[in-house]
Structure formats: structure tokens, C-alpha cells
């Protein structure tokens, strides 16, 4: 499996496939092996592993509900209804007349809030990881292509990100600007591109002296064109794996910040803040803490499982 021309992408958290054959590393002159954007065999191979298929179902569920939630559910996620506070879960298929996961301390439907919280989490994870990837890959390829001053600056900045972990940086930023979705998105993009830059720099370095790059240069391609058309395709598979793992990390970090009370400001639902609130009611309304926690864990598990599967399918030696 590892040697077959297989490659996958979780485009938008879904599960589209992108081809970038490991052989392409050795055989780029072979024009018949162009990078295919879609090949159903890859998808079937990918989901034949049951946990990966289940993980895909969970991710698709949360993404679909994040988009369609407002049309399916009639409960208001933010509006208190004190008469129905702290109702216990009432399992029923009629999600709009029963509180299937109960209500919180001010009577809001927990199921609705979990779906809405999922929207924030997935948005932050996906957009944050994509922003970080864009910055990191661009800077990393520039640094790998053009070592010297630019490369040194980029890599020292990446060191800086490791020296002050994202969670601490987020706390500092929250202190200065106050909590908020936009601040978090920008922060995730500018303080989380280090790993992308490292991988891109290394791979660019390893590719840039190969014959096909030489050939492109000989026929007069400009450096930006060479980097974009001839170097970048080699980075796609390892970057997709990293992308999925970093989306999972960002989801955990957002939830952690909201749990600490410096993430998404209330009343907007967030899995982290729901859990923090539910913690106070553990003795008489444990569902308030348990269900949001299960939602985070399931999502993180799904993304990690998809990422692992992606790594098995893409040869892991390529980027380790």
C-alpha cells in the first residue's frame, strides 16, 4: 500500500483525494503520472479501514450540522429559557420538541449548543490550520530556496514560536486585545506556521538540486514558477498529513482557551466554555460537562485517525 501511488486529502474536513505518487519523487520526468486530483480507488482504499470510515462519518456529521444546523434545529442556542433549566437528557428522535441532551443552567438546549460549538471549533481548526499552512509553506519554500538571510530570519521566527507555545501566546494576546474569534484566527495563523515552514524548508532543500528543477531552469522558468510548479507538488502529501494533525491541535487549543474563559466570548457556544460551565454542575447535571467533552474527544479522535490513515497511505518516510 505504501508504495502505490496513493495520496489523500481532507479537503474542508470532508475527504476528497489528491494524488501525488511517492514515485514522483524519483520519476518526475514520467509525464503520464501527473498528480491526479481525484481517483476513486484511493478513497476506497482509505475507508476500507473501519475506524477511518467511522471517523469520516463523524467529521462529515459535524461539518454538515455546522452548515445546516440552523435549518434543521429550531432551538435558539443563545437565548435563555429559565423555566426549562437543567432538564435531564430526553432521548427522542424529535429533536425540536425534546431536549435530547438536556438543558443547561439557563435552559438552553445542550444538543443545539454542541452543534453550534462544533461550528466554531471546526471553523477555527480548518481555517486556522489552512492559514498557518499558507504562511508556513510560502515562507518555508522561500527559506529553502533562498538560504542565507531570509532563511535565517524565517527559521529564527519559527524557533520563537516553539519558545513561546501557542497557548501562552494566546493568553498574552487575550490579555491585550480581549477574547474573540477573529483574534484567535489571526493568532493561529501567525503563531502556528513553524512546523509547516520546517517541513517545507527541508523538502525544498532536498528537491531543489534535482534534475527536473535543473531542467526547468534551463528552459528559462523563473524561480517563483519553479517553486510553484515543480517543487510545491512534492510537498502536498506530507503537508496534508500535518494539516490534519494541526487542525486537531487547534481545536483542542480553542477549547482550552474557552475553558479558561479567554477564548470565544459568551453567549456564543463553544465546547470549551460549555465544559467549564458544566463542571460546576457535575453533582446534579453531569451531562452538561460530559456531552461537550465527548464531542471534542470524538472530533479530535476522528481527525487524528484520518491523519494517521493518511500517513499510512502516504509513505511516512517522506517527511519524517
Amino acid at each position: 500500500m505504501a508504495n502505490s501511488p496513493i495520496d489523500l486529502a481532507g479537503g474542508g474536513g470532508g475527504g476528497a483525494a489528491v494524488g501525488a505518487a511517492p514515485e514522483a519523487f524519483q520519476l518526475s520526468s514520467d509525464r503520464s503520472r501527473r498528480y491526479k486530483l481525484w481517483n476513486h480507488r484511493y478513497v476506497i482504499g482509505f475507508i476500507r479501514y473501519p475506524p477511518a470510515a467511522f471517523a469520516l462519518v463523524i467529521v462529515v456529521f459535524f461539518v454538515t450540522m455546522a452548515m445546516l444546523g440552523p435549518y434543521v434545529i429550531s432551538w435558539n442556542p443563545d437565548k435563555p429559557d429559565l423555566r426549562s433549566a437543567l432538564q435531564s437528557p430526553d432521548w427522542n428522535i424529535a429533536i425540536n420538541s425534546h431536549h435530547i441532551l438536556g438543558t443547561d443552567s439557563v435552559g438552553r438546549d445542550v444538543f443545539t449548543r454542541i452543534l453550534v460549538g462544533g461550528r466554531v471549533s471546526i471553523l477555527l481548526g480548518v481555517v486556522g490550520a489552512t492559514g498557518a499552512a499558507t504562511i508556513g509553506v510560502t515562507l518555508g519554500m522561500i527559506a529553502g530556496w533562498n538560504r542565507g538571510v531570509i532563511g535565517a530570519i524565517v527559521m529564527r521566527w519559527a524557533d520563537l514560536q516553539i519558545a513561546l507555545p501557542l497557548l501562552l501566546m494566546a493568553l498574552t494576546i487575550a490579555a491585550v486585545f480581549g477574547p474573540g474569534l477573529h483574534i484567535l484566527l489571526i493568532l493561529f495563523a501567525v503563531w502556528f506556521w513553524g512546523p509547516y515552514a520546517r517541513i517545507s524548508e527541508g523538502l525544498t532543500l532536498s528537491v531543489k538540486n534535482r534534475e527536473f528543477v535543473e531542467a526547468a531552469r534551463t528552459i528559462g522558468a523563473t524561480p517563483p514558477r519553479i517553486v510553484a510548479r515543480h517543487v510545491f507538488p512534492h510537498l502536498i502529501s506530507p503537508l496534508l498529513v500535518l494539516w490534519s494533525f494541526s487542525a486537531a491541535i487547534l481545536i483542542i487549543i480553542e477549547a482550552s482557551l474557552s475553558f479558561l474563559g479567554v477564548g470565544i466570548p459568551p453567549p456564543t457556544a463553544s465546547w470549551g466554555s460549555m465544559l467549564a460551565e458544566g463542571r460546576q454542575f457535575l453533582h446534579r447535571a453531569s451531562w452538561l460537562a460530559i456531552y461537550p467533552g465527548v464531542a471534542i474527544s470524538l472530533t479530535v479522535w476522528s481527525i487524528n485517525t484520518l491523519g494517521d490513515r493518511l500517513r499510512d497511505v502516504v509513505d511516512r518516510r517522506q517527511y519524517l
Partner: protein
């Protein structure tokens, strides 16, 4: 790799990064406007605000303030906390000691469990391997704050066996330490398993078996020695992750350590404490990775010789 010159260059780079970090924290905290106005929030007279600004030197040009800040930071002086009026550095150091009471036992226990478990999982597949991997997947997916809440729910609320917040007797340490262990346990088990599996497939293992060594000797002298070396590096590099999870775990269990201090400082805009904390973490992380590199050089003869 780590000859004197290279090591000296690494130290210089680390100091440069630390300098950049401190500068960045300074400018970020000044970006939100005048600290005096922000901290007093219009609660005192404009004249008093002016007097305070003069007293703290906020009327000087930003470059002058920056120079003064750097001069004091080099001597380890980040100013006094705006909440407790204690020196920020002392506060950070005191609280780090409280955090280490959780972090150090957690780290030791993780290594004691994860390395044997991961090695076993790689050498003997089957039941042990499956157990180790299921455990790893579970602990990797459950974020530490949820793990902490689950522990509180089962052992504190439902069973009533253990205290669930604050400091005290030895029983107060159990749940926070166990929570802190969750993610690293998964990470190190997986890492050990991957390393050992990889080493098992190497040529030198085949050679060792071919020359008739007993399997235990092959594993102990050839596989484990090679496989566990990179883990030494990871331990040093992991300090940042550890601090991150300590922040969360302390918040869950109301443990009065470094993490709680940072969260309080962030919520009250206590910039001197934030800056001192950021500097300390940067210093710890950079020292950790330097020490790890150095230890790796000492432990691995191949690198030492290069």
C-alpha cells in the same frame, strides 16, 4: 555535531530568540495603549493618571521605554505585579515550584510506564500491543481538561474517594498528576513503539540474530539502545507542551501553580507577570532543547565523533 563552535552558535541563537521573545512581549503589551489608562479604567482623576504616567515613565518615547525595559529585563527585573505589587519574577518562580510538584512526578511516571509499554507493544504484538495502542488513542483524543473533569466526576463526585481541588495531603496530588499524565502517556507510548518497531527492522538486528545472540540480548543491547535515544531529545523539547497542559490541569483542579498565575495575569492584564512568565518559559524551552541536543551527543557515539 556538537563540537564547541557549533554549540556556541546554538547558544547564541537561543539568546537571540530569547531577546526577540522579550521584545515581542514588550511591544505587544504596549500595543493596547497606555497601561495606566487601561489598568485604572477611568477610575481615577486625569491629574493622577498624568502623575502615574510620569512616575512609571510612560511619557518617554517608546524607544526610551524599550531600552529601559531591556536593561531591567537583562537583570531579571520585570517590574512589580499590578495586582499583588510583588516582584513579577519572584511570583513566577514561587508558582513554578508549586507546579513542579505536579509536573515532575507526572513526567517520571509517564516515562516509567510509557517506555516499557511501548517497547513491549512493539516486540510482542498481540494483546499487549493492542491494549497499549487503544490506551494511547484514548488518551490522545481526550483533551486534558475533559480528562480532568471525568476524573473529578468518577473519583470525586460519584465515588467520593479523592479530593478534587486545591493543595493539601498526598491525596490531593493523585488526580491532577493522573490528568497531567494523560496526553504524554499516549505520545511517549506511540513514539517508543514506533522507534522500537523501526529499530527491529534494521540490518544490525538481523546481523545480531544471525550471529546467534539470545533474543533478550538482541532486544536489550541492539534494539532498545538505538531506539530510545531519540526519545531523550523529545523529552527536552517537550517542555513547552508540558507547560501548556499544566496551565489547563491547574485550572481544572484549582492548583495554585504557574498556570493559574498566568491565567489570572492574562485576565487582569498584569503585564509584568505575563512578561516574566513568557521570558521564563522561553528560557526553559530553549535550555531544554539545548540540553537535549547536548545529551544526545553524549549518548550517541556516532554523533559525538562527527
Amino acid at each position: 555535531m556538537l563540537g564547541g563552535a557549533v554549540f556556541a552558535r546554538r547558544i547564541m541563537q537561543a539568546m537571540l530568540v530569547l531577546f526577540l521573545l522579550v521584545s515581542l512581549l514588550f511591544f505587544i503589551s504596549r500595543m493596547s495603549g497606555d497601561p495606566v489608562v487601561m489598568l485604572t479604567e477611568g477610575a481615577i482623576d486625569p491629574e493622577d493618571v498624568e502623575a502615574l504616567r510620569e512616575a512609571y515613565g510612560f511619557n518617554d518615547p517608546i524607544v526610551v521605554q524599550y531600552g529601559r525595559f531591556l536593561g531591567e529585563a537583562i537583570r531579571g527585573d520585570f517590574g512589580d505585579s499590578v495586582r499583588t505589587f510583588q516582584p513579577a519574577r519572584d511570583l513566577v518562580f514561587d508558582r513554578i515550584k508549586v507546579s513542579l510538584q505536579l509536573v515532575i512526578p507526572a513526567k517520571i511516571l509517564v516515562l516509567l510506564i510509557a517506555i516499557p509499554l511501548g517497547s513491549l507493544a512493539a516486540v510482542k504484538r498481540g494483546a499487549i500491543g493492542a491494549f497499549a495502542m487503544i490506551m494511547a488513542v484514548l488518551f490522545q483524543s481526550v483533551p486534558s481538561f475533559f480528562l480532568g473533569v471525568l476524573y473529578i466526576f468518577f473519583f470525586g463526585v460519584t465515588l467520593g474517594w479523592l479530593p478534587v481541588f486545591g493543595t493539601g495531603g498526598i491525596d490531593h496530588y493523585i488526580l491532577p498528576t493522573a490528568t497531567l499524565m494523560g496526553y504524554p502517556l499516549a505520545r511517549y507510548t506511540r513514539l517508543t513503539r514506533a522507534q522500537v518497531s523501526e529499530a527491529l527492522s534494521q540490518e544490525y538486528v538481523r546481523t545480531a540474530r544471525a550471529k546467534g545472540l539470545a533474543e533478550t540480548n538482541v532486544i536489550r543491547k541492539h534494539v532498545l539502545r538505538n531506539a530510545l535515544l531519540p526519545i531523550v531529545t523529545i523529552i527536552g523539547v517537550d517542555i513547552g507542551t508540558l507547560v501548556g497542559s499544566a496551565i489547563i490541569v491547574e485550572a481544572v483542579f484549582a492548583w495554585p501553580g504557574f498556570g493559574t498565575l498566568v491565567v489570572e495575569a492574562a485576565k487582569t492584564r498584569d503585564y509584568p507577570v505575563i512578561q516574566a512568565a513568557g521570558f521564563t518559559i522561553g528560557l526553559l524551552v530553549l535550555t531544554g532543547s539545548l540540553v537535549a541536543d547536548y545529551a544526545y551527543g553524549l549518548l550517541d557515539p556516532r554523533i559525538r565523533r562527527r
